[in-house]
């Protein structure tokens, strides 16, 4: 905590001298883009808008993710504060951030929700999970039901800080119970 406070203080000192780079550190993030013209440019906007310095972009157009998206690796320099703003901007614009090089969320896991997730307000469900402490929503996929306009379930890919998984699952249990959805949790080792 002390460390963080010191850093933000020094950051504000340097902010007056024309934007020194010396407190920026390098980050690598991996995004998944829809394969459409302009999506790469769109993806870089949050970095530029938040004054991050782009270092390199590796766009693997030929290689698609299991969800049919194109993975892109972006290296950039940013202060911790800028980095957080960039990640938040990505999430707001609906980008899927698959991995981040300097992530605080080390435990990644998947849960499934069965039931009509649309009818029960999927945006609200996602927001509430996101609002939970120590958890990040990496991506959400919906699955169609028997008829075209029916949604029968969803997959949430989540990441939590180490040791915070059971807390997150407890929160998910509350949300799904309230909405009448069925939660399918991963089978994990017993915490001793």
């Amino acid at each position: 905590m002390m460390d963080q406070i010191n850093r933000s203080e020094s950051e504000s000192l340097y902010a007056t001298d024309g934007g020194s780079k010396i407190h920026k550190s390098a980050h690598t993030i991996r995004l998944e883009l829809v394969d459409e013209p302009g999506s790469l440019l769109e993806a870089l906007k949050p970095i530029v808008a938040n004054e991050g310095n782009l270092l390199s972009i590796y766009h693997e157009r030929g290689k698609k993710s299991p969800r049919g998206r194109v993975p892109v690796e972006v290296d950039f320099e940013a202060t911790d504060r800028q980095y957080n703003s960039i990640i938040m901007a990505f999430r707001r614009s609906g980008f899927t951030v698959v991995e981040t090089g300097k992530s605080q969320y080390s435990e990644e896991f998947i849960v499934l929700l069965a039931g009509d997730v649309i009818e029960t307000d999927v945006t609200d469900t996602i927001e509430r999970v996101r609002d939970g402490s120590n958890v990040s929503v990496i991506d959400v996929s919906l699955t169609p039901g028997q008829s075209e306009d029916e949604i029968s379930g969803a997959r949430f890919r989540l990441a939590t800080q180490e040791g915070k998984m059971s807390e997150t699952l407890e929160m998910l249990r509350e949300i799904t119970e309230e909405k009448g959805l069925k939660l399918i949790e991963p089978l994990t080792e017993v915490e001793r």
Partner: protein, 318 residues
């Protein structure tokens, strides 16, 4: 050993018919309407012929089986109410200092503390290894390891639900479709509700939890009844959700879990390469121990002969 068998459904019948092969003698055989008692051994084939003709195995009073000279009562009745008649039959035998082997789960799942109390006040012993996992020796392994060394027991304890989930995933079929198929194959009962709503798994987990709780140094402190188990089933899982799980190399299994935090039954995400993801009408159980790693048992689901064989194993351990 001289055995009295109460209950002449498919399990009771298998036990009676196989007893001689295991070196035992049936001296009393009873159903709800009548009994046959013979000091020098009941003619089992004859008794079931009588049952086919008259609806009961014999004309003796079922209560008189307790007065005959026998070593072990084998309880294989179907519960009508409050774990009875199984519980009362066990009480009668223990009151006469006889041993009791249960093929009937309910006295252990619903009235465990009372059963243990009766056992403490008797020279007789109660065994119930046949009530969980059929021919898989789950309870024997738990007993042989120090129960203080058991961290958790978890797995697939219902072969019908495992068949349904694995067929749904492999063939991309919906629940109702696979259930119909399972009934046609004789894997699912005509009324499969206890299998698919998690109750059957919850009963088995209750027994495992109670068995562990009866040891002083166990991770599980208190005995429970099946009503204490957080239970969920597989009836409203759409086939498309299994496909979604498959995209991440995972699948869904109905898992029962027993550990120091309690007992839970419900559908869970399991990696494709986990032993618990085994396909078909199977039971798969993982026993996690403190010092001996994880022990995995798997095998065909329980049939009547498997249960009978487990009953004879219990008798040998008396």
């Amino acid at each position: 050993m001289r055995l009295v068998v109460i209950g002449t459904g498919s399990v009771g019948r298998s036990i009676a018919e196989l007893a001689a092969d295991y070196g035992h003698e049936i001296v009393g055989l009873a159903d709800s309407a009548g009994a046959v008692i013979a000091e020098d051994g009941v003619d089992v084939a004859d008794a079931f012929e009588t049952k086919a003709a008259d609806g009961t195995v014999g004309s003796a009073d079922p209560a008189d089986v307790f007065e005959t000279s026998y070593d072990v009562l084998v309880e294989a009745t179907t519960t009508v109410d409050d774990a009875n008649p199984g519980f009362e039959n066990a009480r009668e035998a223990l009151a006469r200092d006889r041993d009791v082997v249960l093929a009937n789960r309910d006295p252990v799942a619903k009235r465990f503390d009372e059963l243990r109390e009766l056992e403490r006040n008797s020279d007789g012993t109660v065994k119930f290894g046949a009530t969980v996992g059929g021919s898989l020796p789950i309870i024997s392994i738990l007993t042989d390891h120090r129960p203080s060394n058991i961290v958790s027991v978890r797995g697939v304890l219902n072969d019908t639900s495992n068949f349904i989930l694995s067929r749904m995933a492999a063939e991309k079929l919906d629940y109702e479709h696979v259930l119909t198929e399972a009934k046609e194959l004789g894997i699912a009962d005509e009324d499969p509700s206890a299998d698919v709503n998690g109750t059957d798994t919850a009963v088995k987990c209750t027994i495992l939890s109670n068995m562990l709780s009866s040891y002083d140094e166990s991770a599980i402190d208190d005995s429970i009844t099946v009503d204490d188990v957080d239970t969920d089933g597989i009836t409203n899982i759409p086939g498309s959700l299994l496909e979604l799980a498959a995209q991440d190399s995972r699948t869904i299994r109905l898992i029962g879990e027993v550990n120091g935090n309690g007992v839970r039954v419900g559908p869970r995400l399991v990696p494709d390469d986990s032993p618990l993801a085994a396909e078909g009408a199977q039971n798969i159980v993982q026993i996690e121990t403190t010092h001996s790693g994880t022990i995995t048992l798997s095998g065909q689901g329980m049939d009547d002969h498997g249960t009978a064989s487990a009953v004879f194993t219990d008798i040998d351990r008396l």
